[in-house]
């Protein structure tokens, strides 16, 4: 149904990129009202970002390609708008702040866009300073951008966007490169921009929790088509195919608890759960298969021992006198704020950084290993799966690792391809694979060397919920086969689902370590959304599946 008050109207939009056969977007019809916040969700490759680019005019203006249908903004077709007019009406905040900030200093970066569209010099200064004030980054005004943290850089990008005083801002996964705290700040800032300035916001995101709350409408895309477009309440009540993974945790729990009306907040969900709990015979929840499994395995053989470890860059110490040990077959999750020393710890363990103290793996000091030997003990998967793509086929990529080690028996390649479900793409160019497949290729290229300990640095970064689940299952499978896994992550929900032991790092020190229950039960920040809802009723519930189990169990 057409809404005459709609600000953005997308009619019959189909688009394919140059030299690509299939449509990325297929017959999209959407109307966005002025001042609305629309949360665009969907799996990787569903066309979310392309839709955002169609609204900004970058598709097809910058990319080329074949577009059918129309995108009108304020009654004017975007392709007919003058470039400067379009840039001042609609702007975009991109995924990676590194790739959108061009100037060196913060205030000049914000001014850059205004200079582009010819805003009078006398007005630029005011807009620059007010934007910084609005985003609370006045203290950064003269800082070199390269010295800022990821969150600060993204705030600068947002300030640069609002300086245009645009009617609409497209946010393309603005938090995907950020830690949870910085992500929360950015989402809160988007909410503030919408509330106080009335700016229409289209948020394309994988992190559902906060985005859902500030949105007026949800737009769900699947394979380039609109699956759902409507209010949050309608999305919550939607029947049919299960898209509940795009609901925040508390709503997933509420839905499973049978709440017909969508709870307006976590507080309401907590009340709902309390009411359910009071109505039933209250018994402590005892579903903790992970811990039981872990204990039953009698997992006591120490594989990695760290004693008095100190690591520093320059004069400062990032890790200070850290002690810990990891047993064979452990699945350890390390989390903590940015700068806590998580990645540094991984690098020190693999001998990539000089350290003081002692790191022994299987009885030998890490610093005494030579690189070919250390690579047989540790498999290291970095944050970016593209780091592992240098060859033209998946098979060659795996063979490359073996060749480096002088291994001529290639039978392990077939084993790993099968294990990681990559047989179907063995002869494909890894660059043509989806995000999830690339992630598996990265892991495969490390596993092919049969390391005894697998280290992963932020493996879920930028992955959608479906891909995260696939990755988690894969890691759990490898772990069940005896591989020790240590992963560094900001994704507490993911870690709580799959890890067995946890280390919480602050300022280069282990603040807490142990099982999920020991580390997260009393967590203020470092615990899961489900635990925050259930902690007064069943403090050992950390995941949605546990919550569902509790809601379905007779024990409650």
């Amino acid at each position: 149904m057409k809404d005459n008050n709609s600000y953005i109207r997308i009619e019959g939009l189909s688009y394919s990129y140059p030299e690509e056969k299939g449509n990325v977007l297929d017959d999209i019809n959407v109307e966005i009202g002025s001042g609305e916040v629309v949360f665009v969700c969907g799996d990787s490759g569903s066309g979310k970002t392309t839709l955002g680019k169609c609204i900004t005019g970058a598709v097809p203006g910058f990319y080329g390609g074949t577009m059918k249908g129309s995108v009108t903004v304020n009654g004017i077709e975007i392709s007919r708008m003058k470039h400067s007019e379009r840039a001042s009406e609609i702007t975009m905040v991109f995924q990676d702040p590194e790739r959108q900030l061009l100037m060196s200093k913060v205030h000049r970066e914000i001014a850059f866009g205004l200079e582009n569209i010819g805003v009078e010099t006398s007005h630029i200064k005011r807009r620059v300073w007010e934007s910084m004030q609005f985003c609370n980054i006045l203290d950064l005004w003269d800082r070199e951008i390269r010295t800022l943290s990821g969150g600060q850089k993204q705030k600068v990008a947002v300030a640069a966007a609002i300086a245009y005083m645009p009617k609409c801002i497209i946010f393309d996964e603005p938090t995907s490169q950020l830690d949870p705290l910085a992500a929360e700040e950015i989402i809160a800032l988007i909410g503030k921009i919408n509330r106080e300035l009335g700016t229409t916001a289209v948020i394309i995101e994988q992190r559902v929790e906060r985005c859902f709350e500030i949105s007026d409408k949800i737009l769900l895309l699947d394979k380039g088509r609109v699956c759902f477009y409507g209010s949050r309440e309608e999305f919550y009540s939607m029947e049919g195919r299960d898209w509940s993974r795009y609901l925040p945790v508390h709503l997933r729990i509420a839905k499973h608890a049978g709440a017909v009306e969508m709870p307006a907040s976590i507080k309401e969900t907590r009340r709902l759960i309390s009411a359910i709990s009071e109505g039933a015979a209250a018994q402590p929840y005892n579903e903790d298969s992970k811990r039981l499994d872990y204990d039953l395995r009698g997992n006591k053989e120490e594989q990695l021992r760290i004693k008095g470890l100190s690591v520093g860059y320059g004069s400062g110490e990032v890790i200070r006198k850290l002690d810990c040990s990891v047993c064979r077959g452990d699945f350890v999750g390390i989390f903590g704020p940015n700068g806590a020393g998580k990645s540094t710890l991984l690098k020190a363990v693999t001998g990539l950084l000089k350290y003081r103290g002692s790191i022994t793996v299987e009885g030998s000091e890490v610093s005494r290993y030579r690189n070919r030997e250390i690579g047989k003990v540790f498999g290291y998967v970095s944050q970016n799966p593209n780091d592992y793509i240098s060859k033209d086929t998946v098979y060659d990529e795996l063979r490359f690792t073996l060749d480096n080690y002088g291994i001529t028996d290639y039978s392990s390649i077939e084993e790993v391809l099968k294990e990681l479900d990559l047989e179907g793409v063995r002869d494909k160019n890894p660059r043509d694979l989806s995000g999830g497949e690339r992630q598996r290729v990265a892991i495969a290229s490390v596993l092919v060397n049969k390391p005894r300990i697998l280290l992963l640095d932020e493996p879920t970064r930028g992955l959608d919920s479906q891909l995260k689940l696939q990755l988690g299952k894969l890691l759990a499978k490898l772990n069940s086969e005896g591989m020790t896994i240590i992963l560094v992550t900001h994704d507490i929900e993911f870690a709580s689902e799959f890890c067995e032991r946890y280390l919480l790092l602050f300022s280069g020190e282990i603040i807490s370590s142990g099982t999920r229950e020991e580390v997260m039960r009393d967590g203020i920040f470092y615990t899961t959304a489900a635990n925050k809802i259930f902690r007064d009723i069943a403090p050992d519930i950390f995941t949605v599946s546990q919550a569902k189990g509790w809601l379905s169990s007779d024990g409650r």
Partner: protein, 295 residues
């Protein structure tokens, strides 16, 4: 801390460095080149950038060695024989010629370094975006990509070290071979990065309109002084060059008069004036800064 020279107008510093570049390219006279080296030295000195001076020198050494070797092997000209190897004569003139050539390269490297020290890159980007937008965007993308590539390179080296690549292989061929995967990823990454930056610039209205300038600079007294001195220096050099006093033909007998003559003395005098101006301005600015901080 920003150098005092960054307060200067973009046109001033650009023109100043352009004049130095023109002179370096137009003469082989070692005294004139030495004068320009002294100017560079003055800037490095007052900005405390001795590291840059050393880095530039390190970059220069291998090129210098290769140039000298090639020139001495292939050029037979010259009167003074230094030594014979396998019956081939190596002359003092070919050694001097190659040394001057590589010294000129060193000076060009230094001029780019002092340009970076003297110019406010954001002001320059803003100014040149209004005049030559496409070229400026290309330059900005390139400048943006290098630090990112450097950072990525560190991560990639870690990844490939643990994948068993021998990054410390001996021999140039082995070294190149072991670095190919890293370089191919860096290349792809930089192409993607350049595309993304271009897209962001497009969305942000670059090339959409007549550009305005956020922080319009007017010419201050120091700008007039440096501009005046640069132009005088250039005019004097053109005069000396046209009179044939800036020539240095080593292979045809370099006598004292071709190195030091009236013209060269004039140019050297102007060099000293420029150096004095740079030092005095820097001294004045640092004193003002100290007194501001004191208040």
């Amino acid at each position: 801390m920003d150098s005092a020279f960054r307060k200067c107008n973009v046109i001033t510093t650009s023109l100043f460095c352009a004049v130095l570049t023109v002179v370096i390219f137009s003469t082989d006279n070692p005294v004139i080149l030495l004068g320009i080296f002294m100017i560079n030295l003055a800037v490095f000195s007052v900005t405390g950038s001795w590291n840059k001076l050393l880095n530039g020198f390190r970059m220069f050494i291998p090129f210098s060695v290769v140039t000298i070797l090639i020139n001495m092997i292939f050029v037979y000209e010259g009167r003074i024989t230094l030594f014979y190897v396998l019956g081939k004569r190596f002359t003092l003139e070919s050694l001097i010629y190659a040394s001057i050539l590589s010294f000129k390269l060193l000076l060009i490297i230094y001029v780019f370094m002092i340009l970076e020290l003297m110019i406010d890159s954001d002001r320059a980007a803003s100014y040149f975006s209004a005049k030559i937008p496409k070229t400026t965007l290309m330059m900005m993308i390139a400048l943006k990509l290098f630090p990112n590539m450097k950072e990525r390179m560190g991560n990639l080296r870690d990844v490939y070290y643990l994948r068993g690549v021998n990054l410390n292989a001996e021999g140039l061929r082995e070294k190149v071979k072991s670095n190919i995967p890293i370089m191919s990823i860096l290349l792809e990454n930089s192409l993607d990065g350049a595309f993304d930056i271009g897209e962001a610039a497009y969305v942000r209205g670059f090339l959409s309109n007549r550009r305005t300038i956020y922080d319009k600079q007017s010419l201050a007294v120091i700008d007039f002084i440096i501009l005046g001195e640069s132009l005088m220096f250039l005019l004097a050099f053109i005069y000396v060059k046209l009179r044939g006093m800036a020539e240095f033909e080593i292979y045809y007998g370099a006598v004292q008069m071709t190195v030091i003559n009236q013209g060269v003395i004039i140019i050297t005098g102007m060099n000293l004036v420029i150096i004095a101006t740079l030092l005095l301005y820097s001294f004045k600015e640092s004193r003002e800064r100290v007194s501001d901080e004191g208040q």
